[in-house]
Every structure is written in structure tokens, then in C-alpha cells.
Symmetry: C2
């Protein structure tokens, strides 16, 4: 059934009927002019939004509607994680061509609801409009204790740079999707593709880093390590050096690069969408960090003076500039 057969209010009512979860503190949800939410007043309110556009942020060829819905919400949750906060509510704006199948919308919402349920976010409203192409914009509210918030600004020369999890898997997974004919072991292909398509924001990790008050600065890696490090450095007015020997990677990513003759470093620095957290920690808190953080994290570099720029220290001591590129929406895509 096409959306043109059921109309806008049909879309809304079919969405509304099963969005009853996590409506805690929600006085008014979907169905009125605006959602109304009770707030505590002791915390800071977080407010962020992100859009996914078909053929720009994902391709239907290898992304299911469920995965698009999931991703649309969790990229925002990752932004909330990056300041150490807790996501609470969201609005979903869907722009859809008239000939969109109703089932596609259901599947997008199934993905949204799965993510909403996992991360305990209430879907409290939004709108659905006709458009030439599919775009989903999710706005998320969250909260954080004022004393815990970690911003992009705040990093100081001498701070150590850490990253959660592993780098480059998502870029390698996207490369696999784009090259179905690559002769790679199925388990490697499947592992990397799954990494790319079913991303998990580092919510618990971000909250732990924030509540332990050890980090001076934090950002989530969405556009890519290189691009996001440039953003953090800009806001903190610092430079940075990354140590090439220290990047944490998955064995599958390394093997894929080797077998296919691709650059592992390219995926790590510019691949994007790893959705790990990068954070800076004063050197005197190194021991405290070791004792506090029980999840995988790796020391990959150091904050330096702004005039030194942002560079990579290669094996052997050579320095090369890390370019400020990644996923730039208005230039030729690097992915």
C-alpha cells in the first residue's frame, strides 16, 4: 500500500498506535501541537538533531529500512553520549516520496522503536511530509548533571588522547558493501558489514567518562577520526599528535586491508561512522583512568600547542599532517 492511498493522518495514526513505551515524564505526546515534558530543573537539558538522506548517508541497495530507523536515532544518541548525557525524548520528522510503500515506513519505525527501547528514549512526536526523496531528521532531548558535562572545548596541551573501542571497522565494512565481488572470507565480510550497518553508540561509556570527571574534552567519531579530531582541536584551540602504532583495530579490518591491498590508515582516519568516543585526559589522571574505566579504551596520542597543528607520528618518527577531510556533505564524497 502506498502512502498516497492512506494520507498523512493515516501515517500518523498508524505510527502513534504503538509508541507507548518510555513516555515517563511525558504529559503530552504525539497527537497535540507540541509534546510537553516534565523536567527536573537540577540538570542541563541537551538538545540535538541529525538528518539522514537517502543516497547521501545511506543507500537502500544495502541498508534495510529497519537499519535506517535505528541509525537515525542512534547517531543522535551518540551526540548525547559525547557530552556524557542521557537521552530522554525524541521527535521524528520523515520526508517521504508519495510512492513510498507503507511497509517501508513501518520498518523504519520498527528500527526507531528498537533503538528507543534499548536506550530508553520516548518518541513524543514529529511530522511526516511529502518530498522528492527520503530524509529522516530526528531531534533528541537529553539531560546531564551540570558538573559532569564534557564539551569539545577544554582540551589542554599535554592531555592524553584516548579512544573507545576500535577504529576503521565501519569504513572497511562500507568498502565491503561497495565491492561485493571482493574475494574475502565470508566471516570477515559479515563482521565488518555488521559493524557498518548496526552501529552502537557508546552511551554507557560516555556517561562513565563524564561522571568520573577525568576528561577535559570529548567528541564522538561520526565523520571520521581526522575530521572529528579537527573539530575538537578547533573548539579547544589546540593541536594534536596521533601515534600510528597505537591505533586499535579489529583483526578483520587488518586482514581485509592486507588481502585487498587497501590502506588501513585511510579507513582509520577518514572512513567515518565508527561512533567511538575520542576524549582527552590530563596526564596526571592516567592511573585514575586505568582504575575507573572497565571498557576497552586506547591511548592514541597527545594534545599539543595549536601552532603545531594536527599530525600523525609515523612508525620511525616521521611526521605527516592529518588532513581535515572526512565526510563533507558539499564536496565530492571521500567515502
Amino acid at each position: 500500500m502506498k502512502l498516497s492511498d492512506i494520507g498523512e493522518f493515516g501515517v500518523i495514526s498508524s505510527i502513534r498506535s504503538d509508541l507507548k513505551d518510555f513516555q515517563k515524564e511525558v504529559i503530552v505526546g504525539i497527537g497535540d501541537d507540541t509534546a510537553a515534558i516534565k523536567v527536573s530543573g537540577e540538570k542541563l537539558l541537551l538538545f540535538t538533531s541529525d538528518s539522514l538522506v537517502e543516497d547521501v548517508h545511506f543507500k537502500w541497495d544495502y541498508t534495510s529500512p529497519f537499519q535506517v530507523g535505528w541509525k537515525a536515532l542512534v547517531v543522535n544518541i551518540s551526540d548525547v553520549a559525547a557530552v556524557g548525557g542521557n537521552p530522554t525524548h525524541c521527535l521524528v520528522s520523515l520526508a517521504l516520496p508519495s510512492d513510498t510503500e507503507r511497509n517501508l515506513v513501518r520498518e523504519v519505525y520498527r528500527g526507531l522503536k528498537k533503538a528507543a527501547s534499548k536506550y530508553r528514549v520516548g518518541i513524543v512526536g514529529g511530522d511526516t511530509v511529502r518530498a522528492p526523496s527520503f530524509i529522516i531528521t530526528v531531534s533528541v532531548l537529553g539531560e546531564v548533571k551540570r558538573e559532569n558535562i564534557v564539551l569539545r572545548s577544554g582540551a589542554k596541551p599535554g592531555d592524553l588522547i584516548y579512544v573507545t573501542g576500535q577504529l576503521g571497522s565501519s569504513g572497511a565494512g562500507l568498502a565491503c558493501l561497495k565491492a561485493p565481488n571482493w574475494k574475502v572470507k565470508p566471516e570477515i565480510r559479515q563482521f565488518l558489514i555488521k559493524k557498518h550497518l548496526t552501529l552502537s553508540p557508546r552511551l554507557v561509556e560516555g556517561q562513565k567518562i563524564a561522571s568520573s570527571q577525568i576528561a577535559t574534552s570529548m567528541i564522538d567519531l561520526s565523520d571520521g577520526l581526522a575530521s572529528d579530531l579537527h573539530r575538537l582541536a578547533e573548539e579547544s584551540k589546540v593541536g594534536a599528535v596521533l601515534w600510528e602504532d597505537e591505533f586499535p583495530t579489529a583483526l578483520a579490518t587488518e586482514q581485509l586491508a592486507k588481502v585487498m591491498g587497501k590502506s588501513l590508515l585511510e579507513w582509520i582516519l577518514y572512513g567515518g561512522e565508527d561512533y567511538e568516543l575520542l576524549f582527552a585526559v590530563p596526564p596526571n589522571k592516567k592511573e585514575e583512568l586505568k582504575q575507573t574505566l572497565s571498557f576497552p579504551h586506547t591511548l592514541i596520542g597527545e594534545i599539543v600547542d595549536r601552532d603545531q597543528g594536527i599530525y600523525l607520528k609515523k612508525r620511525g618518527g616521521n611526521r605527516t599532517k592529518i588532513e581535515d577531510r572526512g565526510y563533507n556533505h558539499f564536496s565530492a564524497s571521500t567515502k
Copy 2:
């Protein structure tokens, strides 16, 4: 200059540089992963979003980028007004084709900032993505005292139905835009076109209606009197009768209908985008309302039992059903 020449971060930094107004209570604004806002805790938080799509909600042929920016924010402010609230902060998500002129983005933001300044709303973030067509999605936060909030639900049979301002001017203005060859007095054309293009949300009026606690139910007229009355009736589980003799209209709208042989009633009921407020008031509060509301408002009907449906009482006493149509995004447009 095209956006493809300056890139996403160029767009963001050019936007960011002059959005310093109304950043009250904003701890973190544009430039970090999420905006962070101080909240009072005594009020309810309002959270709403709306999208405008080129060729669906407006046409560049007769809408300036400034007007699009203005409209994108004020349609949300109208939603906040419809519950009696006060808008405080917003995020702007722009989806733009790569060949969009930088100046168009500047003009859209000039419109947004003009509206933000007039209604004292802080623009605290958002994102900018590449897309096949222009879509702007604005998410707005607001606040309202819990005891004052007026919802779509709450209307009871016997309540009187009031509307602020005048009806049908926006629909008549759109008709003028679509028919540049109509032989109409220039002052009539200009008046109606201005009504359509530079809409003013009834913010002060909504707040006054809410704070005086005389209304049982309220909605803003965006899709049209007919469609929005159906929405209010649905949420309140009631029916409604409107009195055709009582509709407030501008002289220009009446004259245009007469001269061009068009249906005034069609513009009033189904024209949409008047952005007036429709509200229901218990009959015993009629006198109090008269003494309280100092802005134009008109009694246009009555809430009835749900099983009576939603109908128009014509001159002479005849009843006709009011259809549930207006601007439906997934059917053939009625505008």
C-alpha cells in the same frame, strides 16, 4: 558562490558567527555535539518540530528565501502558541542541493534570525546536509506553566468555539499568487499576498488565552479550519457545528471572491495557513472572556456530541457536513 565550493563546515561557521542573540540559559550552543540548556524545573518543557519542503509547502517562484526561513520557525512558534506556551530555543536542520547558492542560505538564515529575534528564540544548533531538494526542519523547545497548558483534548459539548483574527486571507493570497493574471485591484492583491507570505503566529494571544484559564481546548489553524477542527474534535472525542454567518473575514478576501467568482467558504474552511487559534470555552465563561481578551476574536460555533459529527449550519438553517480535508501531504493537493 555554491555550497560545493565552501563545504559543510564553511556553511556551519558562516551561520554560527552571527547567532549570538537570545542565548540566555544556553550553556552550550552551536559548535558542540549537542546544545545544553538550563531549565527551571517548575514548568513543562514543550518540544515540537515541523518541516517545509520546496514545491510542497512553498514555491521559490513566489517565496523568497527570507520568507522561507521566517516561515520555518514561526510555524513551530504557532504550535507552541496553540498550547499557551512560550518558545525558547530551536535547532535548524537544512537539507540542500549541492548547487544551492550560498546567498540563499544566508537569506534563509536572515529570515530565521528575524523570527528568532522577534519571538525571542535562541538558535542553538542543527545540521546541514546535502540532499536532492531543499527541506528545512526546525525543532523548537518551549515552556508553559503546568496549570496553564491548553491541549487539543478537553473540549466538551456545549463549549463555544472561538477563533482569533480573520479566516481565509491566506488561501485567497495563495490563489492570487497562483493567478498573476487575475484582474484585481493591486491593493487587494498585495494585502492578501502579504497575509499568505508573512504569517504571524498568535503567540501573545495563545499565552493570554492559556493564562486566563478560560479555554478547555485549543489548536492552531495550519492545515485549514476544517482539517484542524477535525483534529481537535478527534482528540476531545466531540463533534462541532460552525455557523456560516459568523466567520470573520477580511474585506479584501470577500471582494476577491466576489470579483473572481470564487468560493469564500472554500478559502475559509479548506484554504489553510491562516495560523489563527481556534479555542473552545465553556458557555458560563462567555462574559469573563469578553472582559479578558483584548484582541480580535469571534464566536463561530459550538461543540456538540461526537455522534452529531462536524457540520456547518448554513444561512437559512440547512446543515452540511464539513469534510475532513485540507492540506494532505500524501494525496492530491487541494490547494
